[in-house]
């Protein structure tokens, strides 16, 4: 069965791009959230196998959302999506239990590699 992914990003453009990459590579998109608050709620609701989490978002950033998701489900697999120049936040995320991170702009191959590895 294909793995279910929750996409979290505040830019619709990024969500759609990611969704496309995922669906073309046999993943199922279980939900899309546009900020950290939605992400945490949706996580509880759809219980995805994996989450791709943007870092800079309004309302609640990705690292905070990651912490809350981890508190709710310590086994949660969360992949951070970061842009260049956010290294320190990525470090925070790793400390908070992020499984891996991908750096924008997305390279399809890298995204899929990271996802495949994260769910294996």
């Amino acid at each position: 069965m294909s793995k279910r992914v929750l996409i979290v990003d505040d830019a619709a453009f990024m969500r759609i791009k990611l969704k496309d990459i995922l669906e073309k590579n046999g993943y199922e998109v279980a939900g899309e959230a546009q900020n950290g608050v939605e992400a945490v709620e949706l996580y509880k609701e759809v219980q995805p196998d994996i989450v791709t989490m943007d870092i800079t978002m309004p309302e609640k950033d990705g690292v905070e959302a990651l912490k809350e998701i981890k508190a709710h489900d310590s086994k949660a697999i969360v992949l951070m999506c970061s842009a260049m120049g956010q290294q320190t936040m990525v470090m925070d995320a790793i400390r908070a239990g992020a499984m891996d991170f991908i750096v924008k702009p997305f390279d399809t191959e890298r995204v899929i590699k990271a996802l495949d590895k994260a769910v294996s």
Partner: protein
């Protein structure tokens, strides 16, 4: 390059949004250079733009946005102060960005020369941050493993651990050369290893790594009870790791290896003090930025949940609802004529639902006036600078909602009016002082709802429209001004091909006249009037329909025809007696409650024969602040009608707004009351 064409529309939509935010916020920043919320907003928008551009493969755009974002990171972390020059530089960047985006929109290429601007952006970054200078030396050339030296204390600890079942591992990590966050990649691996044991010694030290500094390999000694193959299995396939070496070893072995290491991938790198590392200004800023974020918790209003809908679908929906309304009305007619009691109740329900549907679809099409206005402050700022004038541009009622089509179409005429106001209206500061006015001119743009219409006014306190100048200009162009009042002469600016500016400047007078403005507004079923006083200023008053398609109307009979009059303009309806019409030298007036109102007999105006059994009524309409009394032969009833535009072939018929289909399937013309009342009699 991957094919991103499918995202183009979305890309442009979001890019436009973000560019608008940037323009708006940078403008705000000029006023409030220390407002963190504004700086954050700018940073986020630039950041988003960069991400999208890079993903689409628009390298030039990505490079420019990256430079802007970098600079803003430094602003965020207080490394650079916001200055006028900086703001101007940002605006320049935004303009170039807009240009790039426009080019992309047309031909998919973003090849514009940005090197000059980017280098200036970098220059600002470099000169303002002294930090970089000294840290740029000592770059490490070697990318091979060099293990840290074990001290006596470490050795003792290792011996102790090993005797209680720990193994000693020498671990070397080399992150891929093109990895974008080397330190974080290595950190992740180290973090994972730590779950299985303890790190004894690491180079570079952990805190340095955590700060995002890494340009060579990471080497460490690690104590764990896990066998090597378990550790390898746990860390295998980590993203963007070029090589990972986990080698079980002993203190003795390490010492023997020391001067001449034998690890497959390694060699001692010559020279280079490992503590003097290159500091990437971006990362430096990033780090400070995180500190900031933690200290000042930002509050933001919750974002509205929205989805994007193709406008053509919305139009289609609108049209279908309109059709539904027409047929509901027909059904009601049939039911009434045939006294079908049974149909009554369900029809009421259908009526209620279609009403709600109608309202909903109207709301869906509504957009705040702000969408048209938000680019103006920036434009006015530039205009004022260009013209050497001081202008305070004020907007009011940006939240007023209008039909989306109106909002998107009204921008162009408004820009024209604003340019005119800045160029011809507002005087230069010294002239203003001489005239006893404040040095800074004011241009005010406001919008507010008035019944079924929205009024947009544009007011300046400039020199006003001089009727004498207009007159002269009119004569030169062969336009007769004989017998016209000053007000009517001022209205001549809307005459095709009219321009009062003595010198055509780059700002206004681009060949589009005020007549084009008027025409555009008329095409939106709107009207424009001007009131101007020499030396005091000019006000334009634009009246726009709230919606373009469904209106309440009063059906009237004129001769044998039925016409619809939009209810929005109706002030009063009374029975009409011939005695109430008082002839004056140019026509007739209607006297009502002490007021004298110009009287217009619609039948005469439209050249229709009077109905035989007329039950004449007078309909008092309000246009702007003027009343007109329309005499019609009879009232039919009040009705909600759907405006259907007349075809292009009938464009010349200025007396009608459009047509609608009545309950019985007949067609009824909708009177353009404004045109009927204000149009001069054909001479």
């Amino acid at each position: 390059m991957e094919d991103n064409s499918a995202y183009r529309d979305l890309f442009f939509e979001e890019t436009d949004e973000n560019l608008a935010i940037l323009n708006q916020e940078v403008l705000q920043l000029e006023q409030h250079p220390n407002d963190k919320a504004i700086i954050d907003a700018i940073f986020r928008a630039a950041h988003t733009l960069k991400g999208m551009a890079a993903t689409m493969g628009y390298e030039t755009m990505a490079e420019l946005t990256h430079a802007v974002e970098n600079l803003f990171e430094m602003v965020k972390s207080d490394q650079i102060k916001v200055s006028r020059e900086l703001i101007s530089l940002f605006f320049e960047s935004l303009d170039l960005l807009t240009e790039i985006v426009e080019n992309l929109r047309v031909d998919e290429s973003d090849a514009l020369d940005i090197s000059d601007l980017v280098s200036r952006l970098h220059q600002v970054a470099d000169t303002d941050v002294v930090l970089n200078e000294s840290t740029r030396q000592g770059e490490e050339t070697g990318d091979l493993f060099t293990y840290p030296e074990l001290e006596e204390g470490d050795k003792a600890a290792i011996q102790a651990a090993m005797s209680s079942g720990y193994y000693l591992y020498a671990v070397g990590i080399q992150v891929e050369a093109d990895s974008m966050m080397k330190a974080a990649r290595a950190y992740m691996l180290v973090n994972r290893l730590e779950q299985f044991g303890d790190i004894l010694l690491m180079h570079p030290p952990a805190d340095q790594l955590e700060q995002g500094e890494l340009d060579g390999p990471v080497t460490l000694y690690f104590l764990s009870k896990e066998p090597a193959e378990n550790l390898l299995a746990e860390t295998e396939g980590s993203s963007e790791i070029e090589s990972l070496k986990i080698r079980q070893t002993t203190v003795k072995e390490e010492q023997q290896l020391k001067p001449d290491e034998k690890d497959l991938v390694e060699e001692v790198s010559p020279g280079g003090d490992p503590d003097l590392r290159q500091v990437d200004p971006a990362d430096q800023a990033d780090e400070l930025e995180v500190g900031k974020k933690k200290s000042s918790a930002r509050k933001r209003t919750p974002a509205k949940q929205t989805i994007r809908v193709d406008l053509t679908r919305l139009d289609q929906f609108m049209n279908l609802v309109s059709e539904l309304v027409i047929h509901r009305t027909r059904l009601e007619d049939v039911s009434e004529k045939n006294q079908l009691q049974e149909l009554g109740e369900p029809l009421t329900q259908v009526g209620r639902i279609t009403n709600e549907l109608q309202e909903l679809v109207l709301q869906l099409r509504m957009q705040p006036f702000n969408a048209a206005v938000q680019r103006f402050p920036r434009m006015m700022r530039d205009l004022a600078n260009e013209l050497g004038k001081e202008i305070d541009f004020v907007t009011e009622g940006e939240e007023t909602e209008l039909d989306r089509t109106v909002v998107s179409e009204i921008g162009e005429p408004l820009i024209h009016l604003l340019r005119n106001a800045a160029d011809h209206g507002i005087e230069k500061p010294d002239e203003r002082l001489k005239a006893g006015k404040p040095k800074q001119g004011t241009i005010k743009l406001s919008a507010y709802p008035e019944g079924n219409r929205v009024i947009v006014t544009l007011q300046d306190d400039g020199k006003g429209l001089d009727p004498r100048l207009i007159e002269q200009s009119a004569w030169k162009k062969g336009i007769s001004t004989e017998g016209l009042s000053d007000e009517q002469i001022q209205a001549l600016i809307f005459h095709p091909g009219f321009s009062t500016a003595e010198v055509v400047t780059g700002v206004s007078g681009r060949g589009v006249g005020m007549d084009a403005v008027k025409e555009k507004i008329a095409s939106l079923n709107g009207t424009i009037e001007t009131h101007s006083e020499v030396g005091v200023g000019t006000t334009f008053r634009i009246t726009l329909p709230l919606t373009l398609s469904i209106i309440q109307s009063l059906l009237v009979k004129v001769g044998t025809e039925t016409f619809a009059i939009p209810q929005a303009v109706i002030d009063k309806v009374n029975r009409f007696e011939e005695t109430q019409a008082v002839p004056v030298h140019k026509g007739e007036v209607y006297q009502h409650e002490g007021q004298t109102i110009p009287l217009i007999r619609v039948g005469e105006k439209l050249e229709l024969p009077q109905a035989e059994q007329a039950l004449q009524h007078v309909i008092v309409v309000l246009i702007g602040d003027k009343r007109y009394a329309l005499v019609v032969d009879d009232l039919v009833h009040q009705k909600e009608i759907v405006i259907k535009k007349l075809g292009k072939e009938l464009n010349g018929l200025s007396s009608f707004l459009g047509a609608t289909i009545l309950g019985d399937g007949g067609i009824c013309l909708i009177l353009d009351v404004t045109s009927i009342c204000t149009r001069k009699k054909a001479t």
